[in-house]
Structures are given as C-alpha cells and as structure tokens.
C-alpha cells in the first residue's frame, strides 16, 4: 500500500498547488480586472484542480480494481503450469492462502519452500505494480495539470466546464441507489439459482421438513439436508400474527387518542415515549425478550400448569409487537390527520358522540391509510431479525401453538451464515434463497401498501 499512499499524498499536494496556480494565472492575465474574465478566478483554479485530480485518481482506482486480479491470474497460470492436476477449488484455496499470507494473517497450510516462492513472487509483483501505478498516476496528474494550466485564458469557459463535472458527479451519485437495488436483486438471484441447482424448487417452497445440517457421513439419513421451508414460513407467520395482535390495537388506539383526545400538553408527554420505543435498537428488544419476557412466561406457565418453551413464539411475538407499536401508531396518525375536519364536523352536527364519530366516520375514512400502515407493519415484522434470533427457537417446528418454540426465515438466514463453512454448500446457498423470498415478500407488501394508500387518498382531497 505504501507506494500508492505516497502517490495519493503527492496527487493531493499537486492538486492543491494547481488550484492556487490556476487562480493566480487567471488573475494576472487580466491584471486583476475581474470583469474581463469569463468566469471567476476560483473557477479557473478548480478547472486546473479537476484536471489534476481526476486522471490521477482514475489511474489509482483502475489499479485497485483490476491490478490484484490481473496479477493473481498470472500467478494462477504459473501454478497451473507447475501442477496441471490442480482442480479449480484447490487453486482458489491456494490463491486465498497466498492472499492471506500477504496480509500477514495466519494460514492453515504448511509453508513449504514452493509456497514461499510463490508468495514472494506474488508480493513482489504487487509491489512493482504499485510502484508503476504510482509513477503513472503522478505523471498523469502533472500532465493534466500543465495542459489545463496552459489552456487558461480570459475567454475559457471554466465555470461551465467545472459545473459540468459537478453535475456528472451528482448523476453518478444518484445511480448508487439503483446500483444498490440491482446489487441486492442480482446477488440474491444468482446465489438462489445456484441453490436450485442442488435442491428442487418444489421441495424448497412446499417441503415440510427443514434440517439443513449436512451430515458428517455421506451414507447417513438425509445426508444432503432437507430444505423444505414451509415450517419457517409458518413460524414467521405465527410470530408476525402475535406481533400484530399486540401492535395493531395499541398502536391504533394510541394514534386515535393522540390525534382526537390529547391536548398539547398530553401530546408532548406521549410523543417522546413512542419515539424512545421507536429508537431502541432491536438487539435491546431481543435481550428484553430473551432474558425478561421469556422467563416470565415460562414461570407463569409453570404456575398454572402449562409447559411454555423457553423460546416460545409468544415471547418473541409479544416483544416484536412492542417494537412495532410506534411504527403502527405514527403511520395511523398520518392517516387519521389526513381526514378533513369537515367530515368530523358533519358527524358532530348530526349528534354523534366523539367515539361514534371516530368509529363510524373517521376510521372508515382513514381505512386505506390504516390498512397501508398495517401492511407496512407486517412487512417490518417479517423482516425483523434480532428479536427472533435471540428469543425464538432454532429447530424448525411446524405448529400453531404459540407456547412452543418456532423458528423464522430470518433466524435461519443468520444461523446458516454465521460460523465458517464453504460457500458452495447447499446450506449457505439456502440462506440466499430464503433472503430472496424475504425480499420479494416485503417488497410486495410495501408496493401493495403504497398502492392502497395512493388509490384511496385522493377521495377526500
């Protein structure tokens, strides 16, 4: 990294100098008569600066993006030439070890002289590449700077060019959001595709048996693991259902109270409570569920003669519901305040009490918004991870009994992917298939929720 660090520092220094130089040149060209310049002196400075910075940085970026991969492919060629029997996996492992050796990490391999030689060759090639890159980057920076400096004259449209670059930077930034979505979709679909090469699609979506643990011996029963995800879907739905039983009444009623009954003083008391509940990290709710709520339910169950699993769906769902209360409440709040006052006034004029107005006029009018809030809350509950990881079970259990332990999609994703295992096994790939299901379901819920809200909102506007 050293040669590149030096290069970057130098580039930055040259850039700083170039700005001052460009600015000075433009000023001296017109003897300080600003009105005869096309752009402000700062624009000329920035113009030279950009010509220095962008080419230099591009060279460095290009090297970081493709340099190591290119050198690796050379090394891989050498390794293959030495030992033609090398399989793809062995080659990857070897390269990985070389990489780790470079980074100074501990590697699980006898460091013999052959390996040492390759490691040395690898290191020296990387080092040389960096030195060449650094040299080229500095050269490009200087050339760019001089060219731009030479171009400066009072008629140069420096401002327009600099602003063009700024616009370009903004456009590139705005594509990151698109790239993010594309990255999520593509990585999920790609890995899921590899998963379905090993496990049938039908078995995954409709299979009733989930035990992804790969057996130690090949002849063991179910040695390939069973990947029927129905128990996970059922568990997720059970916990979501319990969460909604808690969140919808409490969230909706507190929104109604906040918007219809509470005065300003009350509101200023209640709002922070809901905001704090909304701001508590989910891992804290997980701790609360696992160490306070779950033991309480187990003991309460024992006291009345019920067996409650220590990782019961009830505890996880209840705490998840608590987490969702503020979310449900603030979304319903928006829906309720959007209903025009005239509708309420009309109801009062007919002699309806406040509760009757709310029940028969306000809620029906706000229903699309409330349904939207409900759908968004469900989507939130389905995607919630930490509470269930800490408080729900690990074993896939197809049951509708809230006192038993169930597992969820998110719990399985976490269990499958934490800990070390090779990345090609069906076990790790299954996590991506589950992730895709999760992504698709939450996205669909969100789209439907938005549609419902949009479609019905205009009625009162």
């Amino acid at each position: 990294m050293t040669a590149l660090t030096v290069a970057l520092t130098l580039i930055l220094a040259i850039t700083a100098v170039s700005f001052v130089a460009g600015r000075q040149k433009s000023l001296s060209l017109v003897n300080g008569q600003l009105s005869t310049l096309h752009s402000l002196p700062g624009h000329y400075g920035s113009y030279v600066l950009l010509w220095c910075l962008i080419p230099g940085l591009l060279v460095v970026l290009l090297w970081t993006a493709i340099g190591p991969g290119w050198i690796e492919s050379i090394i891989a060629g050498q390794l293959m030439a030495e030992n033609p029997d090398l399989t793809k996996a062995q080659l990857d492992l070897l390269l990985n070890d070389l990489r780790n050796q470079m980074a100074g990490d501990v590697i699980s391999r006898d460091v013999d002289s052959g390996f040492q030689d390759h490691a040395k060759a690898y290191a020296s090639m990387i080092g040389q590449g960096q030195i060449y890159t650094a040299a080229i980057a500095i050269l490009v920076t200087l050339v760019g700077g001089f060219v731009a400096y030479g171009q400066i004259n009072p008629r140069l449209r420096a401002r327009n060019r600099v602003e063009g670059v700024i616009r370009l930077v903004m456009i590139i930034s705005s594509t990151v959001a698109v790239l993010g979505t594309a990255g999520i979709v593509l990585s999920l679909i790609f890995e899921t595709g590899r998963f379905f090469e090993q496990v049938s699609f039908i078995e995954f979506l409709f299979g009733l048996h989930w035990s992804p643990q790969i057996a130690l011996r090949a002849d063991q029963v179910a040695s390939a693991g069973a990947f029927g995800a129905v128990p996970l879907f059922a568990g997720t739905l059970l916990i979501t259902f319990i969460a909604m039983l808690v969140a919808v009444p409490i969230g909706l009623m507190s929104a109604i109270y906040m918007t219809q009954y509470a005065d300003d003083r009350m509101r200023s008391l209640i709002k922070p409570v809901l905001e704090v509940l909304a701001g508590v990290p989910t891992v804290v709710y997980g701790f609360f569920a696992a160490l306070v709520v779950a033991p309480f339910f187990r003991e309460a169950g024992e006291a009345i003669g019920l067996t409650v699993a220590s990782e019961s769906a009830l505890a996880a769902g209840l705490v998840m519901g608590i987490m969702i209360i503020p979310f449900m409440s603030s979304l319903s709040d928006d829906a309720l305040t959007a209903v025009p006052q005239s509708m309420r006034d009309g109801a009062y004029a007919l002699g309806a009490t406040k509760a009757e107005t709310i029940r028969n006029v306000l809620i029906p009018a706000a229903l699309p918004g409330i349904v939207g809030a409900f759908l968004l809350s469900v989507s939130r509950a389905i995607g919630e991870t930490m509470i269930v990881v800490m408080a729900a079970g690990l074993a896939a259990n197809l049951t509708a009994n809230p006192l038993e332990a169930v597992t969820t999609v998110t719990v399985q994703i976490v269990t499958l992917l934490t800990g070390d295992q090779e990345f090609d096994s069906a076990k790790t790939l299954a996590a991506f298939a589950l992730g895709l299901v999760l992504f698709a379901v939450t996205l669909a819920l969100n789209v439907v929720a938005l549609r419902v809200v949009q479609k019905y909102r205009e009625q009162y506007e």
Partner: protein, 439 residues
Amino acid sequence: MSNPAAQQPTNWMSDDMQRRIKRRYAADTRFKFYGIGAIGLAMVILVLLLGSIIVRGIPGFMQTQINLDVYINPAKFSGIEQAATPEDAEKIIMSADYTALYRDTLRERFPEVSGRSDIVALSRLISSGGRETLRNLVLADQSVIGTTQDVWLPAAGDVHSLATGSMSRETPEGERRLKDNEISWVDQLEADGDVRTVLSNDFFTKGASREPELAGIWGAVVGSFLTLIVTLLISFPIGVATAVYLEEFAPKNRWSDLIEVNINNLAAVPSIVYGLLGLAIFLNVFHLPRSAPLVGGMTLALMTLPTIIIAARAALKAVPPSIRDAATGLGASKVQVTFHHVLPLAMPGVLTGTIIGMAQALGETAPLLMIGMVAFVVDIPGGIMDASTVLPVQIFLWADFPEKGFEEKTAAAILILLTFLILMNAIAVFLRSRFERKW
C-alpha cells in the same frame, strides 16, 4: 307520503331515550379510556424495558476486587539477575507463574484450608485477570521482586455476583455456583475490609474476554466508531449529491423516476438483506477482509442512504423558491444558486437527517452478523481493515454467553449504546430547533 299527523315527535325526555343517551355517553367514555389504556400500556412497557435493563446493568459497570499482601517471590523469577538484555528479563517476567504468588498469599491467610481441590477453589476466588495485574506490576518496576506488595486483585465473576447480591445466599448449596466454604472465605476477607466493589476500569478500557469480570466494551466502542466513520464518509456525500440532483437538477423523466422508485425500495428492504448483499458482493466478489469496519461501514452506508436522501430532499424542498429566484436574478448559475444558497440553508435539515441515519446505523446488528463481525475480538481494532466488532453485536454475543456474569455486562453495554443513541438524537433535536428556519 305518510300522514305527518300520525308521526309522534321523539320524546327525548322519555326514560328509554335517556337510557339510550346514557349508554352512548358511557360508550364514549369507555372508548376514551381504551385510548388512555393503550398509551398507558406503552408507557408501562417502556418503563419495564428500561427499568429491567438499568437494574441489571448497574452491577455490570462494577468490578469486585480483593486486597492481598502478595509476596513477589524471587524464586518464580529465577534467572532474571543473569538476564543479559532487558528483552530476556521481560521474557522471564512474562512467563512467570503469578497464580502461585497469590495462591501462596491466600494459603497463608487461610491456613486451615487443606486438600488440593479446596486450595484450587481458594485461588479461584481471584480472577485470572489477577495474573495480569501482578505481571504489569512487575513489568513496570522490576525492583518489586522480593518485596511484599499490597495489591487489589480482580475477584472472580462469582465473587462479584455474591458481592453485588445477584447470587443469593439462600439458594441451596447444590444450585449455587459458590459453595458454603467459599462464601465463608469471602466473608472473612470482607470482614477484614479486603473486599471492595468499584467502578471497573477493565470494562471501559478493554476488549472482549471469556471472563465476565474482565470483559470490556472499549473494543466494541472503537469498532462502532470506525464503522460509523466509514458509513458517514460514504453515505453523506452520496446521499446529499443524490438529493440535490433529484430535487434541483433532474429532469422529470424515466431515469429520475427509476432512481426514486429504487430509493423507496431500498428504504423498505429488511436490514438482513443488506447483510446478504455485503456477503455476496463485498466479501465474495471483491475479497475484502471479513469482520472489518470497512465492509460493515459500506453495508450500513447503503442502508442509511435512503434515510439521508429522503431527509435531505425534504430540507431542500422547504427552502422557498424566492431564494432561488433572487440568486438567479443576480446572475448566479444553477450550480451556484444551489451550492451557495439553497444547500447551506437546507443544511440543518440535512444534518438532522444524517444524524438520525447514523443513529440507526449505530443500533443495527443483523447485517453485520452476515459479514462476520461476530468474531470474538480481544484486541482493540486499530484501523478500518482490522477485525472488529461493534456495540450491538457485542451485546448480542454477550447475551448468548451462558455465564450469569455476562447478563449484567450485556445490560451495561446496552446502557452505553442507549447513551450514545440518546446523545445523537439530542444533537439532532438541538440542530433542528436551533438552526432550522421557518419561512
């Protein structure tokens, strides 16, 4: 048409009607109380949540220590006089048997204790961190060898539980982690004033440990800090640039629609899916180091991006068009109008949104589990490429440890995390109230 004369006017004073009105008013009052009940329930839950964590967390900040007069026996440092270089001497000091030093002191103190297992139990009253304390003492000054030193050594986790009352003496001996004789030794030490419980230095300055009494939060705090820096450096410029572009420059076409749809999508994606993205792309395609704050920060940056963009757009929208018109009228270009006038005026709102986004990122756990930040990291991370963990992940890990002592460490770590979150939100509220203008 019916005959109007046949229709009786409603007698509102009749008993039936009065009862009906009473019933309706009662229903009205009931409905109001449902609302109060819901709010009250939310408040009770919040109090229970915070209360249970505070009660559990306070002993977690403390460390119980035992005072001993330890004779630094020169026999354990044989060869140190002949050591040629300071490095050799250091090697001897590093490898000396410090357990034996305090075990001897304890045996002198409790001469009645005999039998191998009892002596082991006796020396186990001191945490394994006691070795480190003594080693540091000798490392700092070699002249202590051969003298008797009056030192406070960290007590074992079980002694701490006993001292802070989380281990009850009433529990039958078989279910208690400390046996009766061990408790009597602690009591004897306590009677001599040689047991104290103080604010734990280790908790605030060390990394993770297998021993609850030695485990510290500092490693996770540093990891969180590094991760958040990366997140901020990526998401703030990109988020603000995107918001400015969409709000001020973008033509209304399919491309800008696509960007908007994607931003809304990203805001709705469950956080764990970002972890899958980080794993598949940053780790498996780009071969970035596992468990590094760099990768964690990049993953979280993508997650906070929608929050920042949405907040920044709202702030930009709130700047009145007259500002833009005035600047344009004075000859400023579109870029100058935006960056010299509109953006500075929108900055308080943008910063508020950014801080709220950062607070979310600070509390996020699930995506970081996917990219390997669950590693057991003892060292304090020194840079964004080092293996590290973050506060919420540390909480998750400690909550999973079976030792009872970790429960209070977890709660203490939660209190620290909540303090940071409250601080960040307070700054956001302050910024909003102090600098945001109403036009």
